[in-house]
């Protein structure tokens, strides 16, 4: 690792909790892989490691808060916060269901997001970030975090559904029993209902904020954010009005989330470039 990167990393994340979180995320990933490989006895330890990672991550965010670094102060901070929300949601869901396959995917992503959040340059974080801006970023982050969880469940749904349709019962997704399709679909639906109002308010506040700043509306992230909103709005209409369930709903959830990821990516790249 280049000395400059290390210096940057250390300069922005000297909290011991950050290192504990990184270690716990990595250990949780390894433990979940072991569960998936058939070592069921490791499962409680894996869940405990996820909880440990979440607590350490939370302490790191709080510690930064004491240094006046708001979790929604910049895209970089928001990515770290998003990773925290996703981990928390996964932990809650895995207390009820066996979502090992989801954990194997989510935990390394959460780890990468945390490290990226701390490694990426601070960019032109406005020192005069208004309360409106902070609320907008906070709500958008939480909304996207909830959508991310809904999408993870939808992705697991699609993998399980494919395996069941093709009668591949020895598939990796069933190694740790798996979660019933109906439960995955229902949880994804419930999460969409939670995330959508948050994202809607975030979008409105964002538009007001941009209008107040007098910025141009021709940036690509704005229509993409609208696409995300329309995808999830369409999904809710399809579910509520047309009764869509299962594969169709799962695909639409993933499409909506893909748009949200694009918005985030554009923001991140812009900050890095700037």
């Amino acid at each position: 690792m280049p000395a400059e990167t290390v210096e940057r990393l250390l300069s922005v994340a000297p909290s011991p909790a950050f290192w504990i979180a990184v270690g716990a995320y990595a250990a949780a990933t390894a433990a979940l892989f072991m569960v998936l490989a058939g070592r069921q006895k490791v499962r409680p330890a894996a869940i405990a490691l996820v909880a440990m990672a979440l607590i350490a991550h939370g302490i790191d965010i709080s510690w930064r808060g004491t240094l006046h670094v708001h979790p929604a102060q910049s895209v970089r901070e928001a990515i770290g916060f998003l990773s925290f929300i996703i981990t928390g949601g996964y932990l809650l869901a895995s207390l009820r269901y066996r979502l090992t396959i989801g954990g194997v995917v989510i935990m390394p992503i959460a780890l990468i997001m945390l490290v990226v959040a701390r490694l990426s340059p601070e960019g032109t974080t406005p020192e005069d970030l208004s309360t409106l801006g902070k609320i907008h970023i906070s709500l958008a982050t939480i909304g996207v975090g909830v959508f991310a969880l809904a999408s993870a469940l939808s992705a697991i749904y699609l993998v399980e559904e494919r395996a069941l349709k093709n009668k591949k019962l020895d598939s990796l997704v069933f190694r740790d029993k798996g979660t019933p399709l109906e439960a995955l679909d229902r949880m994804s639906h419930q999460l969409t209902w939670v995330g959508f109002p948050l994202f809607t308010v975030a979008l409105i506040l964002g538009a007001v904020w941009v209008a107040k700043l007098g910025e141009s509306l021709d940036r690509p992230e704005y229509p993409l954010a609208a696409v995300t909103w329309f995808a999830f709005a369409g999904l809710l209409v399809a579910r509520q009005v047309y009764g869509w369930r299962g594969r169709r709903a799962a695909r639409l959830t993933l499409a909506g989330f893909a748009a949200a990821v694009l918005v985030l990516a554009i923001y991140l790249i812009r900050r890095i470039v700037e």
Partner: protein
């Protein structure tokens, strides 16, 4: 030493036609056990009688072989000549019996490997033997250990994992689709035996609402009455499919009755909600293409049997690991049992030592009570007491050692050395030779010394 034994028949050695002849009804078992203990050289006994086995687990009187008598007893109890069932009855004794009991409890000897039902049956049989007063410490300990081994085998191996029959597989698969079967509607199409089994299994797994339809309304009603379901006319099939979450089809139709075209319509009306279709008919009732319809999961009899075979193969693999656990545990139990055989000897030895020590102590107390003694005299009495006790305790073994035949003497001496943890001094033999003319060591010599001291 009390020897554990097993005498019986099982699915391995006898067909059901023979097993049913030797089977015992529940209410007969207590009387049978009491008669067995009263009439044969058996001190403890338990009888387990299930559809797959009739076995007596017992403990023979020390030094006897009870298996021959129990073989005869079992045959005669059922009005058979012993020779008639001689070929199908097996017996195990000692370590082989322990291993057999542990294997049975762990479901390693079950018709379906890992089928845990036998454990409950064994526990019941143990309870009945307890009630009859024929189970004792050895059998009790053996059974308790066997239950522990069974628990260990279940938790440490995958011997009981994976459904081992078609109807259980169907329920397992339904649980992968649906979170909770309790609110699900089951549609049974046709009135075959397999439908009945699968529907009953779904019912016991929580599915409360079962609807039966059949071309023959009488047959549908009969099955519905049998499984606590509702019969509906065949003409309503499409509407019934729209309302069903799980469909079990087992008609005698020559052509598929569940077509892709029909299911496309049904799935659309259901808004593509998940639907699990089990086709156990041969020829098949469902076109394979209905599995392509969104939300529809189709499994036919071959698919279910493939799962059963895969699960059984997994269980067989786990059986090897379970066998090692059983061997290890049986070895440990056998060791415990062997130590139990010396317990009476240990008890007698302690009593013997305590009697001698007690008697000498009493004499010393009486001596001290007769008059006042100076501390030096008291010390002398105590020394004498110890010397007397030691001499009396050693008198019998040393005499036996001295008078033993030359070929036994070395062995006895070695045993004594090992038991007392002593090593003979090299010059002891020479000293012994010098003292030979004065006769053997008895308790009298120290007494004389003691008197002289007084």
């Amino acid at each position: 030493m009390s020897e554990l034994f097993v005498v019986g028949i099982s699915w391995r050695t006898a067909p059901v036609a023979v097993r049913e002849k030797l089977a015992f009804r529940e209410e007969e078992i207590v009387g049978t056990l009491r008669a067995l203990v009263a009439g044969e050289p058996v001190v403890e006994a338990l009888l387990v009688s299930t559809c797959n086995r009739v076995e007596v687990y017992g403990v023979a009187k020390p030094g006897t072989d009870a298996t021959g008598g129990v073989r005869r007893f079992l045959a005669e109890q059922r009005g058979l000549k012993p020779a008639e069932v001689a070929d199908v009855i097996y017996d195990h004794r000692g370590s082989s019996a322990i291993r057999h009991i542990f294997s049975v409890a762990s479901a390693l000897d079950s018709l379906v490997l890992g089928e845990a039902q036998i454990l409950g049956q064994l526990k019941d049989a143990y309870g009945v033997a307890g009630g009859a007063g024929t189970s004792g410490p050895v059998l009790g300990r053996c059974l308790e250990r066997a239950f522990g081994v069974a628990k260990r085998v279940r938790s440490e191996t995958s011997i009981s994992r994976g459904a081992a029959n078609v109807s259980t597989v169907a329920v397992d698969l339904a649980k992968r689709v649906f979170n909770d079967l309790s609110g699900k509607r089951v549609l049974v199409i046709g009135a075959g035996k397999m439908s009945r089994l699968a529907a009953r299994h779904l019912y016991t797994s929580g599915a409360q609402e079962i609807v039966v339809t059949n071309r023959s309304p009488e047959k549908a009603q009969r099955l519905a009455d049998e499984i606590d379901a509702v019969a509906r006319p065949w003409e309503e099939l499409e509407q019934l499919l729209v309302g069903a979450d799980i469909v079990i089809s087992s008609t005698g139709a020559r052509e598929p009755i569940l077509t892709k075209q029909l299911f496309k319509k049904v799935a659309k009306q259901r808004k593509w909600r998940e639907m699990f279709v089990i086709d156990i008919a041969v020829p098949r009732d469902a076109e394979p293409a209905i599995g392509e319809v969104d939300g529809v999961f189709l499994y036919d009899i071959d698919d279910l049997e493939k799962v059963v075979h895969a699960n059984l193969a997994e269980r067989a693999k786990a059986g090897e690991q379970a066998g090692r656990i059983v061997d290890h545990e049986a070895g440990q139990f056998e060791h415990w049992l062997r130590t139990q055989s010396v317990v009476p000897t240990i008890k007698a030895l302690r009593e013997h030592f305590n009697t001698i020590a007690g008697a000498e102590l009493q004499k010393a107390v009486e001596l001290l009570a007769r008059k006042e003694h100076t501390p030096a005299q008291q010390r002398e009495v105590a020394q004498r007491l110890v010397q007397l006790v030691v001499n009396k305790l050693l008198h019998a073994p040393t005499t036996a050692l001295r008078v033993s035949a030359p070929n036994e003497a070395a062995l006895r001496a070695a045993v004594l050395c090992e038991l007392f943890g002593i090593t003979p001094r090299e010059d002891a033999e020479r000293e012994s030779a010098q003292s030979m003319p004065e006769g053997s060591v008895t308790e009298s010599a120290p007494v004389k010394q003691s008197k002289a001291a007084q």
